[in-house]
C-alpha cells in the first residue's frame, strides 16, 4: 500500500468522524463532490449529515464553526484555498482566537488551509498564511511536512480543545507518498530532527523541509553534514529542539516559503539570537520568498520561492563563513 499526503488528510478526517460523533466537516464542495482537492472524498457518503457543502461564505463558515464548537461539537472547516481565509479572517483571529481567553469556554475547531505554491497557481491560490495566524493569541498553527504528520497532526488537531490552523501544503498533496499511516506520532508542539548532522542546521517547515533535505543531500556530496529540523508546528514553536540543534552545529539557516518580512523565519532567528546567541558560530541566515505576489508563470514561481539550489547556495556561504 502507498498513501499520499492528500489521502492521509482524508484518512485522518475519516478517523476523526468515525471516532467522535461531535466531529463534522463543513466547507465549499466538501459534500458529495469530495472537495476541490478530493480531501473529503466519499466522506459525505460514509457520514451522512456530518459532511456537507457550505455557501461561498468564509466568514459565516468560521462563525458557524465557533458556535457549534462552543456548544460541544468539533467542526473541521475546509477553506478551498488558504488565500480565501482572508475573507473569514475576522472570525478566525478575533472570534475563535479570543473566545477561550475571554469566556473560559473552549472553542475546538480545525480550519484546514490548503497552502503554498504550486506551478501556475498565481497570486491568489498560492499563499502561506501561517505567520499571520501565528501572530494572534489563542490559535495553534501547524504545518505538516510529511504524510505521517499530515495524518497524525490532523487527528490531534481535531482532538485539541483550541482552534487549530492546519496549514496543509498543496505542493505535497500528490508529490509525497508513504507506505502506511503511522500508528505513533510526535505530538503537536514538538519539532522533528529529520536528519542529523554536524556542520549546520537548516530549520524549515512545510514543503521547504523537502528542499532542505535535498540541500543536505547535495552538500553531503561536498563533504558536509547538515542537520535538518522540521518545525511541524509554528505556534507553538519548539525552541528547545531548534536550540539543541544549533548547539550541535553552531550554524543556522532558516528557510520558509513565505514572504520575507517577518513570519516564521524571523521568529526562529529571533529566538535563537535572543536565547541562544552564544551557540552561534556565525550570523544566522534566513531564506524566504521574494517580496512580491506569488507569480503565475512556473519559471517565475520557481525563482520566487526558495529551492534546494538557492538553499544550497546560502548554505555554502554560511558554511564558509
Amino acid at each position: 500500500m502507498s498513501i499520499t499526503y492528500l489521502e492521509a488528510i482524508r484518512e485522518a478526517q475519516a478517523k476523526a468522524l468515525a471516532d467522535d460523533s461531535r466531529v463534522f466537516i463543513y466547507g465549499q464542495d466538501v459534500g458529495p463532490f469530495g472537495g476541490a482537492f478530493k480531501a473529503t472524498k466519499n466522506l459525505a457518503k460514509e457520514f451522512p449529515e456530518r459532511v456537507w457543502d457550505s455557501p461561498i461564505s468564509e466568514d459565516a463558515m468560521v462563525g458557524m464553526a465557533v458556535g457549534a464548537a462552543i456548544d460541544g461539537m468539533r467542526p473541521i472547516i475546509e477553506m478551498q484555498f488558504a488565500d480565501f481565509s482572508t475573507v473569514g479572517f475576522n472570525q478566525i483571529v478575533n472570534q475563535a482566537g479570543a473566545f477561550y481567553w475571554r469566556t473560559g469556554v473552549r472553542c475546538p475547531i480545525t480550519i484546514r488551509l490548503p497552502s503554498g505554491g504550486t506551478p501556475g497557481s498565481g497570486p491568489f491560490h498560492s499563499q502561506c498564511m501561517e505567520g499571520v495566524y501565528a501572530y494572534y493569541p489563542g490559535l495553534v498553527v501547524v504545518t505538516p511536512a510529511t504524510v505521517e504528520d499530515a495524518y497524525s497532526m490532523l487527528v490531534e488537531s481535531v482532538a485539541l480543545d483550541d482552534p487549530v490552523i492546519f496549514c496543509e501544503h498543496k505542493y505535497l498533496y500528490y508529490h509525497l507518498k508513504a507506505d502506511a499511516l503511522p500508528s505513533e506520532a510526535l505530538p503537536i508542539g514538538k519539532a522533528r530532527l529529520t536528519r542529523a548532522g554536524r556542520d549546520m542546521t537548516i530549520v524549515s517547515y512545510g514543503a521547504m523541509v523537502h528542499e532542505a533535505i535535498a540541500t543536505a543531500e547535495t552538500l553531503q556530496g561536498e563533504g558536509w553534514e547538515i542537520e535538518v529540523v522540521d518545525l511541524r508546528s509554528v505556534k507553538p514553536l519548539d525552541t528547545d529542539a531548534v536550540m539543541a540543534s544549533v548547539a550541535r552545529t553552531g550554524k543556522l539557516l532558516c528557510a520558509g516559503e513565505a514572504w520575507p518580512w517577518g513570519g516564521v523565519t524571523a521568529e526562529v532567528i529571533t529566538r535563537v539570537a535572543t536565547e541562544g546567541f552564544a551557540l552561534l558560530d556565525a550570523p544566522p541566515v534566513r531564506l524566504n520568498a521574494k517580496d512580491t505576489p506569488v507569480p503565475y508563470h512556473p519559471k517565475l514561481w520557481s525563482v520566487h520561492r526558495p529551492t534546494s539550489e538557492t538553499m544550497a547556495a546560502a548554505a555554502r556561504n554560511l558554511l564558509r563563513s
Binding site: D59, G63, M64, V66, G67, I70, M73, N90, T103, G189
Partner: protein, 346 residues
C-alpha cells in the same frame, strides 16, 4: 407580514397575556433603572471605557428575551440591556463587567457590553458587527446534529449592522440551513452619527426578507405589546421549523451612541415623530389605561429596582480589582501548548 394573534401567543406560553406584558415591562423598567445608574457611574468617572445604552429600545429588547424559553440562545448587542435582563442576567454581573470585577463573567478581561455566559446560551458579543449571527447559527446546527429540536436562537443587529458582509452571510447561511434563527433588525435611524440614507437604499429593511427566502415582519419598536406579539409569533414560527425569521423594528435611539456622545446630529423631526416616543412611557400609560398597574405600584417597582441596583453597585464596588500578577495569561485551553515568551516579562 405574518398574522399574529395575541391570544395564540399567550396561550402557547401557558401564561396570561397580562402576566407576560407585566413581566417584560419589569425587565424594561429594570433596564432603564440600571442604565440611569450606569450613566451616573460613567459621569462620576467610575467606568473605564465606554458606556452604551439601550434607552428607547427596552420594549423591543425585553420582548425578544421574554419570547424565548429555557434552552434557547440569545446573542444580544450593545443596546440590549432590556433583553439581557429579560434573559435572566444578574445586574451584578452586568456591573462587574462594566466595573471590571474579576468575579464577573468576563473576569475583567472583557468589558461593558461584551459580556455573556455561553454555558447558559447567553452569548458574549464581540465588537465586529454582524459577527454573532453565524455563531448563533452554529449553536443551532450543533443542537440539530445532537437531535435537540425546538431550540430557537435570537440575536439583534442595528440598521448600520445590516451593511456588513457578516450580516448577509449569516442570514443567508441560516436560510440555507433553515435554522430557527430570529434575527431582529433594530432600525433606530442612526448608526453612530450616520443616518439610514447613507446606510441603505431600500424603502424598508424588511424588504430584504424575500431576497433571503425568510419570513419578514415589520414592527413598531416603541410599543411593548406589539413587540411581544410579533416577536412571540416569530419565535414560535422559528421553533415550529419555518426557518429564519427577520423582524425589522423601527424606533429611535433616545441617547447618544455612547455616553460620550451628545447626539446633536439627531433630526428634531424624528424626535418629534412617533418613532421618538419613549417606549417606557408608552408602556406605563398602557398599563395604567388597562388597569394592569397603577401609579403607586409603578413607583414602588421603580423604587425597589433602584434599591436593587444600588445594592448591587455597593456589592460590586467592594469587590477586588483584578491582580495582574496573579492573572492567568494563557490564551489556549491546551495549557501544554502555551509558550512562556519569557522575553515579554521584562
Amino acid at each position: 407580514m405574518v398574522e399574529t394573534a395575541e391570544s395564540r401567543t399567550a396561550e402557547m406560553q401557558g401564561r396570561s397575556w397580562k402576566d407576560r406584558v407585566l413581566q417584560a415591562f419589569r425587565s424594561m423598567m429594570m433596564a432603564r433603572t440600571f442604565e440611569e445608574k450606569l450613566t451616573s457611574l460613567y459621569r462620576g468617572g467610575k467606568i473605564q471605557g465606554g458606556v452604551y445604552l439601550g434607552r428607547g429600545q427596552e420594549a423591543l429588547s425585553a420582548a425578544l428575551a421574554h419570547s424565548l424559553r429555557d434552552g434557547d440562545v440569545f446573542a444580544p448587542l450593545i443596546r440590549d440591556t432590556g433583553g439581557r435582563i429579560g434573559f435572566g442576567e444578574d445586574v451584578k454581573d452586568a456591573l462587574r463587567t462594566y466595573l471590571g470585577s474579576p468575579l464577573g463573567p468576563m473576569r475583567a478581561r472583557d468589558g461593558n457590553v461584551h459580556r455573556g455566559n455561553p454555558k447558559r446560551g447567553y452569548l458574549p458579543m464581540m465588537s465586529h458587527l454582524g459577527s454573532m449571527i453565524p455563531v448563533v447559527n452554529g449553536v443551532l446546527v450543533a443542537r440539530r446534529m445532537r437531535g435537540i429540536n425546538g431550540t430557537v436562537g435570537a440575536t439583534t443587529i442595528g440598521d448600520g449592522g445590516t451593511s456588513t458582509g457578516a450580516f448577509h452571510e449569516g442570514l443567508n447561511q441560516a436560510a440555507v440551513e433553515k435554522l430557527p434563527l430570529v434575527l431582529v433588525v433594530v432600525n433606530n435611524q442612526y448608526a453612530y452619527s450616520t443616518p439610514t440614507s447613507r446606510q441603505f437604499a431600500c424603502a424598508d429593511l424588511v424588504d430584504k426578507a424575500v431576497g433571503y427566502g425568510v419570513d419578514g415582519r415589520s414592527l413598531d419598536g416603541t410599543n411593548l405589546e406589539k413587540c411581544l406579539e410579533v416577536l412571540g409569533d416569530a419565535t414560535e414560527r422559528a421553533r415550529e421549523g419555518h426557518g429564519p425569521q427577520l423582524v425589522v423594528a423601527s424606533l429611535l435611539r433616545l441617547c447618544g451612541h455612547g455616553e460620550h456622545d451628545d447626539a446633536h446630529y439627531v433630526d428634531p423631526q424624528l424626535k418629534a415623530s412617533p418613532l421618538g416616543r419613549d417606549c417606557l412611557e408608552v408602556a406605563e400609560s398602557a398599563l395604567l389605561e388597562k388597569g394592569w398597574s397603577d401609579a403607586v405600584s409603578l413607583e414602588r417597582w421603580r423604587e425597589e429596582m433602584r434599591e436593587h441596583v444600588e445594592s448591587a453597585i455597593a456589592t460590586v464596588q467592594r469587590e477586588p480589582s483584578p491582580d495582574p500578577y496573579r492573572e492567568d495569561w494563557t490564551a489556549l485551553a491546551s495549557r501544554h501548548l502555551c509558550e512562556p515568551y519569557s522575553e515579554s516579562e521584562g
